[in-house]
Symmetry: C2
Subunit: 334 residues, 2 copies
Amino acid sequence: MGITIKQIAADLNLAVSTVSKALGDSYEISAETKARVFEYATKMDYKPNPYASSLKRGRSGNIAVVLPEVSDSFFSSAIDGIEKVAQEKGYHVMVYLTHEDVSREASIIREFRHGRVDGVLMSVSAGEKKPDHLQDLSASDIPVVFFDRVYEEIQMTNVVTNDFESGYLAAKHLLSKKCKRLAFLSLEGNLEIISHRQKGFEKALSESGIEGREHSIIVLGNDEQENLKKLASKFKSKTRPDGVVGSVEKVAMQVYSTCHALKLSIPKDVKVIAFSHLAIASLLNPSLTTITQPAFDMGKMAATLLFKSLDKKGMKPETIVLKSELIERDSTRM
Amino acid sequence: MGITIKQIAADLNLAVSTVSKALGDSYEISAETKARVFEYATKMDYKPNPYASSLKRGRSGNIAVVLPEVSDSFFSSAIDGIEKVAQEKGYHVMVYLTHEDVSREASIIREFRHGRVDGVLMSVSAGEKKPDHLQDLSASDIPVVFFDRVYEEIQMTNVVTNDFESGYLAAKHLLSKKCKRLAFLSLEGNLEIISHRQKGFEKALSESGIEGREHSIIVLGNDEQENLKKLASKFKSKTRPDGVVGSVEKVAMQVYSTCHALKLSIPKDVKVIAFSHLAIASLLNPSLTTITQPAFDMGKMAATLLFKSLDKKGMKPETIVLKSELIERDSTRM
DNA sequence: ATGTCCCACGAAAACGGTTTCGTAAATAAG
DNA sequence: CTTATTTACGAAACCGTTTTCGTGGGACAT
């Protein structure tokens, strides 16, 4: 291990407390002594033992990021943004994956109450509504910022996008492309973010008001094979949708797979628009029309808010809304 | 915060040491007392303060994962594997991104010497060869496992894939598709993994021995715009390659972009094969022939090896080689 | 000369565990 | 009944910092 403060004190004939204060640039210590300590400390590459500091100060210098998964490009970009801010602030990032498993999420979160991290960034996992652990977490004195997948029941700091509006625009977009049978590909688990998108979708449809238009909600889950089966049966039926809104990246990919397998042409037979952050959406076959969230900036923003409330406790919860962008590509061209 | 051991001791009229030993299931404590302590502890949801334990025991329960980036699907899958093993073992995962910046990598690593993590999993960043910090790290008493992007100069535990062979097979594959002018898209920064792939590529070419075939090495960097410019100029020239091997996922995507922009047809004008882990390779336009590394398993393996050497110090360095798989898709079909 | 103030530093008590060592009581051995 | 051994627990040191509280000595005012 590295050198300790005790060792420095001994080597310089000082008291431990003096060295500690010198390193902390305390006014109690003369410039002369400080210089002597600093020089020796840097020479010996002294770094305070993180456990000892944490134990004494009650702060760890760590933040937790709790996510459903990391393979989704939205989440990986968000991590990118979070890590950047954290590194600037000298914080360390601990990553926890829930894989949409609420009980795992709960047990992860429970650990946080006993120290280890000073704050939590979180995107909640889908699953039966069991908010007890979230409630507990928010009730604890450790600050939490939710991003993207928030949980509105509890009053917390949130970073979200304009999901309702985006869902609305997505449906509008499909309607403007003459789609007659729209489907919204939902995700099981009562995520608010999904239901907002869905409500926007439904509003656009009810506004359009024209009879002869149908729409359906297809609820998909976490099991890819199951989803593909379900999609295949939907797309084989006579009343198959001719325009779909993918509520998350994953399901859009599954629609692509299904259409490829069934030899359905996108966009001729089915037009597809999806909430997705894929950098390579433009390289897909066909290129995918997306509603792209500012994932990196959301991560940065969430982290920034977290650090703000770490700096001064007792901040009021606020909700930041960032804008998504609809980027039209071939998958919805007429 | 949670309840402390001291509080438990007071509440049960026991000494602190007794409680600690009871919780540790020490033989010194009677079954009766243990039961009493256990019951009370679980009732109060006691968890040991991680800083205090770490300080005393000299172990943190954290491991570090140091990566160039997280947006690459190889790395995100690897994290997935790592996190899974860590969670099973009760360890916590700290993620650090270098963004291919060697000096940042160095400063990140330097922190590790002073505690905070018990072990390090690492994929080194490209960049001028400055192995001092890696040398230091491996010389320290904290175990390190390199995966994928290893640094062979120092004798360490490595988890890699059969890169030479894969590079060889990639070139063979293109040759079998009648490509005449092959290009290897390299990455600046002297990564061994890249040079292995390149050497395999070159071996296949030299074996083929037929005159009239050319090959070139195109070295790309970390700046996407620069790369696109470089690629465009290469692909505009009369002797543009008709078959390329992308050494990493990112450059393959850049080739796609370039070809789309220049209206070059893949695979008619240019055949593309790339080292990539993209789950959606099959959905690209056209679907991409890949050499797919077992990213998830590599992460799992690396983590497993790390924990093994955490359990018993002084393990011999070993190198595990996992096999990549060549999956042919449309981007190289004749 | 005496009292007051500040300066620069040291001693010691935390933080919350773990671990070593000592010891009273209970049991076994003689 | 005495002595040795085990059993079950407590006291205290310790991990490396931070922080509170003293304190000796010099400067200053009275």
